[in-house]
């Protein structure tokens, strides 16, 4: 395996070609925040919270650290006023759909980046779903069951994670999805069922 040398926040790091910036940074002890990343799962690149600034051939741009492969001579900056502002805005945008009442990593990142989860929410009136559509549960379910009991429906702002009614039988109740959820949306107990949309359909409520 070829070894490449890159610079993350002025730290020189040697890593195998093909590893991502995020993995390389993690090994070197540099923290990059993520919401839709889970070790062992294929990178998804949807939450964009791991955005970092890279410099390559004299040109800089913003990329998602979870997907961008380490390259020889790459310079990466993981924190800067510009990146912090992008992350803050992304978390605030995530708040539009999720609502203020989130737990887990999303709540922690909102505090760290001084993100006001109601900044844009106040403008758009919609029922909070507590979900940011990171897709970890969906991808984790495929790994766990070799099939997927849950998945996405809808496009754009109508996108939701649901339990596929015809596949409900494949759910092994392994609770993996619950454990990996970064907003605390999925619960096996409590007043709300974990995937309200389809549960509503099944129960005839909608």
């Amino acid at each position: 395996m070829k070894i490449v040398t890159l610079k993350i926040d002025d730290k020189e790091i040697k890593t195998e070609e093909g590893t991502t910036i995020l993995e390389a940074a993690k090994r070197a002890g540099v923290e990059i925040p993520t919401l839709c990343y889970l070790e062992g799962l294929e990178p998804y690149g949807a939450c964009r919270v791991c955005s970092v600034e890279i410099e390559r051939r004299g040109r800089s741009r913003i990329v998602a650290a979870c997907c961008y492969p380490a390259e020889e001579g790459l310079k990466v900056v993981t924190r800067s006023p510009k990146i912090d502002k992008i992350r803050k805005t992304i978390i605030e945008l995530a708040g539009v759909m999720a609502g203020e009442d989130v737990a887990g990593e999303t709540r922690a990142l909102a505090s760290e980046y001084h993100a006001d989860l109601s900044r844009f929410r106040a403008r758009v009136s919609m029922e909070p779903t507590k979900c940011i559509l990171c897709g970890i549960c969906v991808r984790r379910c495929i790994e766990a069951t070799w099939d997927s009991a849950i998945g996405f429906i809808g496009r754009g702002v109508n996108r939701r994670v649901v339990l596929y009614p015809e596949r409900a039988g494949t759910c092994a109740i392994c609770n993996y999805c619950q454990r990996v959820c970064p907003t605390g949306r999925i619960s096996s107990t409590g007043p709300d069922p974990p995937f309200p949309h389809v549960d509503d359909v099944l129960s005839g409520r909608k």
Binding site: A64, T89, L93, V96, M97, R123, L133, R155, G156
Partner: protein, 640 residues
Amino acid sequence: METVKCISSPEDLEKLRQEIIAKREPSKPSVSVCVSTGCVALGAWRVMEAFKAELDKQGLKDEVEIKETGCLGFCEQGPRVTVYPQEICYLKVKPEDVPEIVSKTILEKQIVERLLYTDRATGGTAQKLEDIPFYKYQLRLLLEDNAKIDPKNIEDYIALGGYCALAKSLFEMTPERVIEEIKKANLRGRGGGGFPTGLKWETTRNALGEPKYVIVNCDQGDPGAFMDRSLMEGNPHSVLEGLIIGGYAIGAHEGFVYVREEYPIAVESISTAIRQAEEYGLLGENIMGSGFNFRVKVHRGAGAFVSGESSALMTAIEGKVGEPRPKYVHTAVKGIWDKPSCLNNDKTWATVPLIILRGGQWFRRIGTEGSSGTMIFSLVGKVNNTGLVEVPMGITLRDLIYKIGGGIRGGKRFKAVQTGGPSGGLIPEEYLDLPVDFDELTKVGSMMGSGGMVVMDEDICMVDTARYFVDFLLEESCGKCIPCREGLRVLSKILNDVCEGKGKDEDVQTTEDIAETMREASLCALGQTAANPVLTSLKYFRDEWEQHIRDKRCSARVCKALINYYIDPEKCQACLFCLRECPVGAVQGGKDQVHWVDQEKCVKCGTCYEVCNFDAVKKLSGEPIPPHPPKGMKPVRKGK
């Protein structure tokens, strides 16, 4: 039907070409009718039937040939009929015009004046296509042959030298040499990205992994743009020939044509072309006896705008939901099923045979230093002539809009032009002399995109325009990444609020924050460019935003919530037109009494404004509405 010959060498192809030409009589009268989507919608099939019936009736069935051909881009003037050998071009032809065309033009060689092109401004007419101002300033490399080819007949394409470039590539050039020629031509991707095509081909050729794929992108979904469709409908073999040459150069033996299901004629056209090319030995095993094998499949897109994005398109071909995926490793290296896949727009592929035959140097001399060749624009909006125009890169916006487009309709003032589809920017008057190419458009905050070009006049509100495009993209975003999905949701809400007079002072700042994040951090090009119309609207027309937010005024008088209709008592002739037409009974007054609008009842539908013949109905915005005239006031009669 004669038996189809299987071409098994370049000599066979040339022999067949000579035979086809020998069979044809150039002096024989013939009629060609455009049967592309635009003309068909305007009744081209009925015109076609009328020709068949009339020629039958007059016993001219064997003397006159009728031909179905493709689109020439001047769709608003359709259906188009061209009569040969004089090459007289008739526009807006109706079935009832057909007997006259047959007896006058075909038999007596006379011209039916009223069916000729008439210039709106000067009243002058033009007999031939190239004399019409709309065509005079164009350089039609790709669309030229649409007039001469029946897309369902491969022999028409072969007669014009079709598949000669393929023969040349397979028998006289190595794959590397083909790529070299494309590089020399400096051909850039016509889908809008403008990525150097030669470099992309080389990347896929050198990438590890087998098999390799080549793909045609014909998934154009922009409102108002239809050049990809016209090319695919009118000259499918040019795209196919380019694709086979690309397959040979890249080392791919399998190709896909991704075409929208909503383009049924294009789907049929390319499917027929593939079948015929296979029958003639120009596609399939051992093409023309060269030993090169290549197969093509048509994949029909299910209608998502985002599926035109390369990674989403490839995901769709794999049979999954067409959503973009991160492509820091290019699709040219890791595409369909993670195999090297080279995707180009259909216009890019159709340009390839021209470059192979005439050389990269020839192509490079057309256009500008950075962007060679021609580009097809879909010129629409408030211009006198609308349609598809093919021009050399580097033409100025002014020439496009005034020389080809014939200027702004109704003598109104130009306000802005939006280039590049729904995520292109709004370009103001000060940049009218901008040479149009990939790099110059990007510099002013817009893009080449698919070549959409929407011209707007003084009656268009720039905030409302930004709102329209954001709402379009909101519908089309796949919803995978947060900046695009949520950014568009919030932008749409803000823009709708501003247009409804509910804008807040901080909205400009909020809009900029969101737009910036979307541009920097979105997953794919849809999200990265989605804010362009908003950002350029803010940059070049900030005063309009401020009017909407602070003064609750829409200076173009478009935003419904910010306007009122008012009848000028000095001008009203009490004709009762508006009073009768008003659907909610808001117009007051009566016979011989000046009319006025009851603002409480008015729903601002604009009917009174449209029906008034005396220019008495006004739209007011941001100004007080004068009190209505005293009851029973008599109209001031004109000329008395």
